[in-house]
Subunit: 355 residues, 2 copies
């Protein structure tokens, strides 16, 4: 039905048929009346096709989870630009929330989606975002089961904001969380860091490199399944806003333990490192959208790492540090040049609207 | 800790202690770093206090629903103004979503909340909204279990937008939905209509009346419980955006049946009717936020109505029409002056940003 091409790594799209009678979003598309109905039937339903959504009830009625615990997570996405190398606000909104569910040691099953759209958004942009969401959701095995659309007057939001809320079922006999972290646990990162933030900043700042830096935006639930089958996982966290540094600081504080990192072990792609230098950013503070940090039982770490290397999302996984009883609540980095420094949480806003 | 007073029906609030070190929201409050952490610990946690939230995980891990079916519903709130007679964007965001869960014949249990905040929002406004959310959630017996905060630069949203997603458990042996509607079903409205829309428009247009028209924003889950215990309910819908007319049109289309309404039976408060006339609005198109429409088995209708009259949210409940096999998919109104007209779905945007 539609043709997708790529320009500078950004998905470009042409829609060969008129989607609706309107080329742009009008305030009336958020009225709850005829045009809202039109949008639901012509744009959302044909993509997000499933029985739950098609009931067109006020909410979706879902099957029982057979006595398993529920996990729920919510995230709003306000990324600017809305289309970027390696993804767009739609795929990001799917990956971001389903990854949060996976980080709880749960299987993501369902997503809800809430759109806040600025009057005047081209209908084709919306259509492309919807296509990306459906593609990302299908690939990860989750269904978009209910939604909501609001339209605000021109100048009262910035093209489109998307909230997604994910629902998952906790995997049997799995307890994953900051409270499970133990001294001597090994800290694994699933691949090279700082891609997402740098992909966004490169577009915003008009930086050009030999090859395009793409966002790492990806679903991590498959990788988590693989890891859980390979050994004892104590905690998982996806280092999004605030980067590896903020994620580790939160976990150090919550667990009351200290973490020691080896800077030279932390994988950063050469071009990403160059871009960080130009932009004056430290990669460990830059957002990722397809990476995870795992705290694993020391004796299982090599086995888990080996399994990760077999998975597309974990090929470059590395052990980057370990947990200690020393300096509780703190993250310490042994730097490349031999020194040691405390890695603090991000202060101030390094990269606004990165997700 | 805080003092709440009322001015022209709008809650006014003074916060006697400095909430954080910042009087206004900064971009860095959405960075995922130190200030986000500060906001969570000093503003959100002290209000939305519960074990799920305090785990500070990427998502909330909730107990199993004992084999019951799940219901999930999502809504974004962009109401303008954010404080209005009878409520604010916070209480509205709680009531709106939990009512959608109740309309599925389910017990609302948990809410997630996603804030999109404009840089510069006074911290006191945020605090007041949080207080309202907690008050509304507690009163309805639901818990706010996880959340997310994004901050966008000044001029890129309008003060604050809130997404809430609700999770409920379907009540045992209850099937409620458009597909259950039968010919001869009686149509009940739980009280006088059009209050919410008119309360908002009165503030926006600076209309003054003898007494202030307050929004009807309220939780309906208690009323639904009462109704379900009193007789056979086939369908429920809260007539929000697009009003009674859009809600009924959607149900007529989905059920393939026709509805006949008696205009003189539809309760509209005198001042609301006067305001509608001034604003050129038909009350059946105006939004409600604390009313429901119920389709009930004809022989149970009087019993259900009587039970509703005993409940604070149903004192003025009335039978306003019935279901017929004639003119499938259409809503017909027998007007006050003796004529008959088709009530169509709202075309165009009558009242933007009403919720």
């Amino acid at each position: 039905m539609s043709k997708i091409t790529y320009q500078n790594g950004i998905k470009s799209f042409s829609c060969p048929i008129p989607i609706t009678d309107y080329k742009n979003i009008l305030l009336a598309h958020g009225s709850g009346g005829k045009l809202t109905n039109d949008l639901i039937r012509k744009v959302f339903l044909p993509q997000f096709r499933n029985n739950y959504l098609e009931a067109l009830h006020d909410g979706a009625i879902l099957p029982s989870l057979d006595g398993r615990q529920l996990t729920v997570s919510t995230d709003s996405f306000v990324v600017d630009p809305i289309f970027f190398p390696g993804g767009d606000i739609g795929s990001l909104a799917v990956h971001g929330t389903l990854n949060d569910i996976a980080m709880c040691g749960a299987q993501p099953l369902y997503l809800t989606v809430g759109f806040i759209i600025e009057e005047g958004l081209p209908m084709e942009d919306l259509w492309q975002i919807i296509l990306s969401m459906e593609e990302a959701a299908s690939a990860a095995g989750v269904q978009i089961v209910t939604g909501d659309t609001k339209v605000v007057d021109r100048g009262k939001c910035d093209r489109i904001f998307i909230n997604t809320t994910g629902i998952g079922a906790v995997l049997p006999n799995i307890i994953i969380g900051a409270g499970q972290i133990q001294p001597d646990d090994q800290i694994i990162v699933s691949g090279d860091i700082a891609r997402h933030g740098i992909a966004i900043m490169s577009v915003r700042e008009g930086l050009e490199f030999e090859s395009i830096i793409k966002s790492d935006s990806a679903a991590l639930n498959g990788l988590v399944d693989t890891m859980i089958q390979s050994g004892e996982i104590h905690a998982l966290r996806d280092p999004t806003r605030g980067g590896v540094s903020s994620a580790l600081n939160e976990l150090a504080e919550a667990s009351g333990l200290g973490f020691v990192l080896q800077e030279e072990s932390i994988p950063v792609h050469e071009q990403v490192r160059a871009a960080c230098e130009i932009l004056g950013l430290d990669p460990i503070y830059v957002a990722n959208e397809g990476k995870l940090l795992a705290f694993v039982k020391s004796k299982d770490s090599e086995r888990i790492l080996k399994a990760m290397h077999q998975h597309p999302q974990g090929r470059e996984a590395k052990i980057i540090g370990e947990v200690t009883r020393d300096h509780p609540g703190m993250v310490i980095l042994n730097s490349r040049i031999g020194g040691t420094r405390v890695v603090d949480m991000l202060t101030g806003e390094q990269l606004p609207r990165i997700c």
